[in-house]
């Protein structure tokens, strides 16, 4: 694998009296997918916000290419080549593909004395960038983003990040809102980004999706790294158990199984399961 691009070293983050992250150390290499797993509220989003410059760590440091860095705002993180793609693609549903692709970095050309937005160039580049990621259905840059499927929107956002020189790609639950087929599309795109040598941080709570693309896994529980392991070192059940906070999931499964064997195969009613 490539060399380490970005690492977090002993990061703590608290909002006032509330400690959200505790002693987080992680690293991500070029051409590698780091899967950040964790239940809701485990601190995944806070890690993303630190990486993308929305928040700053309370203590500890971030190191990029061997040098300590501090991102005071999202722009600085972006300038360092860190791109974040959110669940719904972070794109603008009522804008055209070309315009949305180039938001904030519009190509312009001279029209007489006036500088105008170069629609043709923007559409061409945007469509080509998305098609390079294998989404060949997109062939008209004037289409509105809102008319694309969820997977296509993710592809557009990822292609955009790569086009503008991202080296670290943070994907925040990219498959959470998608159907099976669309999710497969997105996972293929993640693999393609990895093949191109990007460092990918893939945040999810779907273990199947993580295992399909991940090289390296970290499980967050209550703001701390509970487990850090590489591909093939743990099974799916073990990871699921870890995410759910250890043994509780296993005991719930056992409980349901016991109930079903004593009740002719019927699952327990919800209230009864909760009462136990």
């Amino acid at each position: 694998m490539g060399e380490t691009i970005l690492s977090l070293q002993g990061i703590n983050k608290s909002f006032g009296p509330i400690d959200v992250l505790h002693d987080i150390s992680l690293e991500v290499k070029a051409g590698e997918v780091l899967c950040l797993l964790g239940d809701n509220g485990a601190g995944k989003s806070t890690v993303i916000r630190l990486l993308s410059g929305v928040h700053q760590p309370t203590s500890g440091q971030m190191v990029m290419d061997g040098r300590p860095v501090l991102f005071r705002n999202p722009r600085e993180a972006a300038d360092h080549g860190i791109a974040t793609v959110h669940q719904f693609g972070g794109t603008f549903p009522l804008m055209s593909i070309g315009r949305s692709f180039f938001v904030g970095r519009e190509p312009t050309r001279w029209f007489g004395p006036l500088k105008i937005y170069d629609r043709k160039k923007a559409n061409e580049i945007a469509v080509k960038a998305v098609q390079n990621f294998g989404i060949t259905r997109i062939d008209d840059g004037d289409r509105l983003v809102g008319g694309l499927s969820g997977g296509e929107r993710q592809a557009l956002a990822i292609a955009r990040a790569v086009h503008f020189g991202a080296r670290v790609l943070i994907l925040d639950e990219p498959t959470a809102a998608l159907g099976v087929k669309q999710a497969t599309h997105v996972l293929r795109i993640v693999n393609e980004a990895k093949r191109r040598g990007l460092a990918v941080i893939f945040i999810t709570h779907q273990v199947m999706h993580a295992m399909a693309v991940g090289d390296h896994f970290a499980v967050l529980i209550r703001g701390a790294v509970a487990a850090d392991f590489r591909k093939g070192e743990k099974t799916r059940e073990e990871i699921t158990d870890l995410m759910a906070g250890g043994a509780s999931m296993a005991s719930l499964e056992a409980e349901i199984e016991t109930y079903m064997t004593t009740h002719d195969g019927h699952p327990p009613p919800v209230s009864s399961a909760a009462a136990h």
């Binding site: 972070g90 794109t91 009522l94 937005y117 062939d139 289409r143």
Partner: protein, 335 residues
């Protein structure tokens, strides 16, 4: 086939509803009022209304595209009128000084509106509702304090009168119509051809993503508020110079009329979608309904009914057209 796709292309644009609405009201008043309102005198009557409204409606529409709202324009119109009248009428100072001070105050209140919106995160409807009343209070209070009256006379002559407050083309069309056309062309460039227009649409689509994409959303928000309040002050100022007097009241009608023009013009209330051409057509449509009623045999009280129905129909049509635009995909080859 070709004409089909051209029609489809038009219908997917934000101004489609406004364009059809305009044709509908033209047909309606053509049938019931004859074509008098398309003759020079009739044209002048609705073009004057459209111009005064349009200069305000475009920046109000831009704010709506960016996901904000400015209703303080209703107070900025009498504010602009009264400022120039007090300085150049009551105190008799140079009209150019009056113009400069009026527009500066317009900029200042716009800055204040924009600053409050970005710093407090209070919805801009509430912020500008506050400034609407505050500015109304200032206008009334200060005017009475200074002039002991609620109406101030203003006599302007020379180039300032010709430029801002006179009639052109033989005495029926206000100079404001020319301002409106020039300003509209400027906005069309700004919004649809320069790169900054893209930023406004992005802000209305998703402000957080826009900021993450590196757009200076706060500065843009302030600029848009400055545009709307300065434009409103400008319209009030020109009206005072045209009619040779200023009143403390009036101007509130601009709030709803501007919003109606903008919405009929195809701007999405929640932001992110719209066009200057659409707002332009929307304003003309509104003005024709507003003035066209005088050329028919109907009682003029019915015009509000027509405007209300027009607004609802326009919004429904615009929703349909927007859905068409969203679901549009070019069909090529076998699929």
């Amino acid at each position: 086939m070709n004409s089909n796709s051209a029609l489809g292309g038009l219908l997917r644009r934000p101004e489609a509803g406004a364009f059809l609405g305009l044709i509908a009201v033209l047909a309606f008043f053509g049938v019931f009022g004859g074509l008098t309102f398309l003759q020079p005198a009739g044209m002048a009557s609705w073009m004057n209304v459209a111009a005064n409204l349009g200069v305000i409606a475009i920046p109000v529409g831009l704010l709506m595209i960016a996901g904000e709202l400015d209703i303080s324009v209703g107070a900025m119109v009498p504010f602009g009128a009264m400022t120039v009248a007090v300085i150049s009428g009551h105190y008799g100072m140079s009209i150019w000084l009056g113009i400069a001070v009026t527009l500066s105050f317009g900029v200042l209140i716009g800055l204040l509106n924009g600053y409050l919106v970005i710093k407090t995160a209070v919805p801009s409807l509430i912020v500008t509702l506050g400034s609407l009343f505050a500015v109304q209070g200032i206008v009334l209070g200060l005017t009475v304090l200074i002039t002991k009256s609620t109406s101030v006379a203003l006599k302007v002559e020379g180039p300032a009168k010709a430029l801002f407050g006179d009639f052109v083309f033989g005495g029926q069309v206000q100079a404001m119509v020319l301002w409106w056309l020039v300003i509209a062309v400027g906005y069309i460039y700004f919004v649809h051809f320069s790169r900054y227009g893209n930023w406004i649409f992005a802000m209305g689509g998703d402000k957080v993503s826009a900021r993450n994409a590196g757009i200076p959303t706060e500065r843009m928000t302030i600029i848009l508020f400055v545009l709307s309040s300065t434009s409103a002050a400008f319209v009030g100022m020109c009206q005072a110079m045209l009619y040779n007097s200023a009143q403390v009241a009036g101007g509130q009608s601009f709030i709803f009329n501007a919003i109606i023009s903008v919405v009929v013009g195809g701007v999405l209330l929640t932001g992110g979608f719209g066009s200057i051409i659409g707002i332009f057509f929307g304003t003309i449509t509104f003005a024709i309904v507003n003035q066209g009623i005088y050329y028919t045999n109907f009682d003029r009280n019915w015009s509000s009914l027509i405007i209300g129905v027009l607004l609802l129909v326009a919004v429904l049509m615009n929703n349909t057209f927007r859905k068409m635009a969203l679901s549009y995909a070019p069909k090529k080859g076998a699929k």
